[in-house]
């Protein structure tokens, strides 16, 4: 793990090519994304003011990010006043160190976890394991991933790449290693699988004295954190243990409860296609005789301030991790999340990962190209992130390098590797297109040699002709037809 990118993964095109050939994976994904896509569309269509909610969501986030310095200090003040302790983490290593030290201070060797993207981004479970502390994932899908020694492939549904039969195998084979074994004779009936997970997890909830969570939102005016979930495991983790440590990206702030109301409408309908999610947990510091005795909030930067410095790319920080863009993406549907090689897959991952962790890595530099720019992601985004625009912006950075912010300092980065030939071709094409005489000469050459054109192209053109025939070159271009037939003034 390196700030969101899994080390040792190939660049997107190679990983995607392998994924596309996996028929089981494609079947699982087609079924799952197709189902949730239709349900989301229906849930959104129920609200006559969806467009206004979406605009409000975008505007609230945009304004909050513009004044983030103010709201962060407000959060620190309110959380502290309510009995919590606020920690500031500039990067993944610092956040991991803080959390590890906090767990050590309790004397505990295990923690239960609420599903959290931020802790995945920093590789917290691995860092805790190195310190001899076991982290138990309690979200059902995260449990499947953890037991299977696997990686999440979706933000909301981390085990979307698995079908029921595969999940039964994982439970039957692996639960005993981690705690209570799966019941004998477990079948792949969803109710039986859920019951096996419930029994396995219940043991952990009742024993755990430390919990680690993220947060969907932090309400600045009262210093209140919010976690929305479907299974109730989050509620268990947030209320039963004595110590609660929440790792939260600094972009998660909303100024007021009135603002939160907008997002509690946008998020469930966009993510699980529900009118309202089953569990919404809200907590403010600590409360005597109710819930954890100690509460720590770790505010995580890890590339967010640098992202904020980019006037085009910063809109990615509005993201509320709903996954609607993954579910609607035709590329994601065919490759799954693992091909993206990063904690944040899909369209949002393709703009978030290269910004949070930089584009020096070949994989990160390949992500902005993992899109046909069809625009379906932008259309469904509940906070109107223009993902295609940011993708193109990041392609510009990959192709040409440019000015970026690194740990708050402006630096110039070099173009990503492998763009020299493309750059030459793009410049040549632009040169020719700026000289219609040259364009006409090229068209006439193409027409004169049309019978000689091969059906299969060599070099980079092979990528086209491997699966598609080429159009037949016409006898004359449009401009030649026009000048010969319609325009007497031209030769």
């Amino acid at each position: 793990m390196n700030g969101g990118v899994y080390v040792g993964m190939p660049a997107f095109p190679e990983a995607a090519e392998a994924a596309v050939r996996d028929e089981v994976l494609r079947g699982n994904l087609r079924h799952a994304t197709g189902t949730i896509r239709a349900r989301r569309a229906a849930a959104v269509a129920e609200l006559s003011d969806w467009a206004a909610l979406r605009a409000a969501g975008a505007a609230i986030k945009e304004r909050t990010l513009r004044h983030l310095d103010h709201y962060l200090l407000q959060v620190e003040e309110r959380v502290t006043a309510a009995g919590g302790v606020v920690h500031w983490a500039a990067d993944a290593a610092e956040a991991n160190r803080i959390v590890t030290d906090l767990v050590r201070e309790t004397g505990e060797r295990e923690v239960v976890k609420v599903k959290s993207m931020a802790t995945q981004e920093i590789g917290l479970n691995e860092a805790l394991a190195e310190a001899g502390i076991t982290a138990y994932e309690t979200d059902l899908a995260e449990l499947i991933v953890q037991l299977g020694d696997d990686r999440p492939s979706h933000i909301l549904v981390p085990a979307i790449h698995r079908n029921r039969g595969e999940i039964r195998e994982i439970f039957a084979d692996r639960m005993a290693t981690w705690g209570r074994p799966a019941p004998d004779g477990l079948t792949d009936e969803p109710a039986e699988l859920a019951e096996a997970a419930r029994l396995h997890l219940r043991e952990k909830f009742l024993r755990a004295r430390v919990a680690v969570s993220g947060a969907n939102f932090v309400v600045a005016e009262t210093g209140t954190l919010a976690v929305v979930e479907s299974e109730g495991n989050g509620r268990m983790c947030l209320t039963l243990p004595e110590t609660l440590i929440s790792v939260v990206g600094i972009e998660k702030i909303v100024p007021t409860w009135r603002d939160l109301e907008v997002f509690l409408q946008l998020l469930p309908r966009s993510s699980t296609a529900e009118r309202m999610n089953p569990y919404t947990s809200l907590w403010t510091g600590t409360t005597e005789g109710d819930g954890p005795r100690a509460f720590h909030l770790v505010l995580l930067d890890n590339g967010r301030s640098d992202t904020l410095a980019d006037t085009v790319g910063r809109q990615a920080l509005r993201c509320i991790r709903c996954s609607a863009c993954l579910n609607v993406c035709p590329v994601y549907e065919r490759t799954g999340g693992h091909a993206y090689g990063s904690v944040y897959p899909g369209p949002i991952g393709a703009i978030l990962t290269p910004q949070l962790q930089g584009m020096e890595d070949e994989l990160a530099a390949s992500l902005p190209y993992a899109s046909s720019l069809c625009g379906a992601c932008y259309e469904v985004c509940p906070v109107a992130i223009d993902i295609p625009d940011v993708l193109v912006h990041l392609r510009e950075r990959a192709a040409n390098g440019g000015a970026v912010s690194r740990r708050g300092t402006p630096v110039r980065i070099r173009p990503a590797r492998g763009h020299a030939a493309e750059r030459a071709a793009m410049r040549a094409a632009a040169w020719a297109f700026d000289r219609p005489g040259a364009l006409r000469a090229a068209q006439r050459l193409g027409a004169a040699t049309r019978r000689l054109h091969p059906r299969r192209l060599p070099g980079p053109g092979r990528a086209w002709t491997a699966s598609r025939d080429l159009p037949t070159f016409p006898e004359q271009s449009f401009r030649d037809w026009w000048t010969r037939n319609r325009d007497d003034r031209q030769p």
Binding site: A16, V20, R334, R395, M426, F433, A463, S467, R468, W481
Partner: protein, 250 residues
């Protein structure tokens, strides 16, 4: 009303029939079409692949060539979207980089006047029945930039439904991308081909004899995939259907 045809580099070079169909169609509707020979390419391939600065001379050229026209009509949703959505970005980013107002002025000038063909027909000319005859079973694929960037909506369908002899059949999963995506088709060829194959299969399953779009670049991908599959479905640009009459089937 002075109307210019921006035929686009793809149509100019590979699909001149489409350009000729636009001319025939508009002239039949009483519009005098001019074709300024200084035109070339909108710069979309450069811009979308990350070469914004390389697209700038083409943006400037577009502004010069189409100055003085009331409308610039384009038989491509994608190239129209490049002008309408991305020229303002080219302009504002050049301005933000301290390189003056010229490109921003080009965008301000051409954006309101540049229309995709079906927009021009329905919104400006106010026609949906263009007097066409096309005796075939046709399915329509709404290409992404026309659908989502321009919001063409019902316009192409209304035009096609008014064509005599034409049987319009619904395309399952119509709003899903065909997988072309410009340089995406070669940079991520495996995914592009998988998307293309799914789209081609959906087209074949409709039983249509022709698949219609407003974009020949997407059509090159869909048609090339259909051809490789050995399917007999013919890709056809909407302009060619609308230009067709009893006397002359395009």
């Amino acid at each position: 009303m002075r109307v210019a045809l921006f035929v686009t580099c793809v149509n100019d070079t590979l699909y001149p029939r489409t350009g000729r169909a636009v001319v025939a169609l508009l002239e039949r509707l009483g519009v005098t079409v001019e074709f300024p020979l200084g035109q070339s390419c909108c710069g979309q391939a450069q811009f979308n692949t990350g070469y914004r600065r390389e697209a700038e001379p083409l943006v400037a050229r577009f502004g010069r060539v189409f100055e003085g026209f009331d409308y610039v009509v384009t038989p491509s949703g994608s190239c129209t979207a490049m002008v309408r959505e991305n020229y303002p970005r080219v302009g504002s980013r050049a301005r933000a980089e301290g390189r003056g107002e010229a490109l921003a002025r080009v965008a301000d000038s051409v954006v309101p006047r540049t229309l995709e063909l079906t927009e021009f027909l329905v919104d400006v000319l106010g026609v949906t029945d263009v007097g066409a005859y096309y005796p075939h079973r046709v399915t329509y694929h709404p290409t992404c930039h026309g659908l989502r960037m321009l919001g063409l909506g019902e316009r192409p369908y209304r035009l096609l439904r008014a064509v005599r002899g034409l049987e319009l059949v619904e395309l399952p999963g119509a709003e899903e991308c065909c997988g072309f995506g410009g340089t995406f088709a070669v940079k991520n060829a495996a995914v592009s081909a998988a998307m293309g194959a799914d789209k081609a299969r959906a087209v074949v399953e409709t039983g249509a004899s022709a698949v219609c779009t407003v974009d020949n670049s997407c059509q090159m991908h869909i048609g090339g995939t259909l051809s490789r599959m050995g399917a007999a479905v013919r890709p056809v640009h909407i302009a060619e259907i609308l230009a067709s009459t009893e006397e002359e089937i395009w």
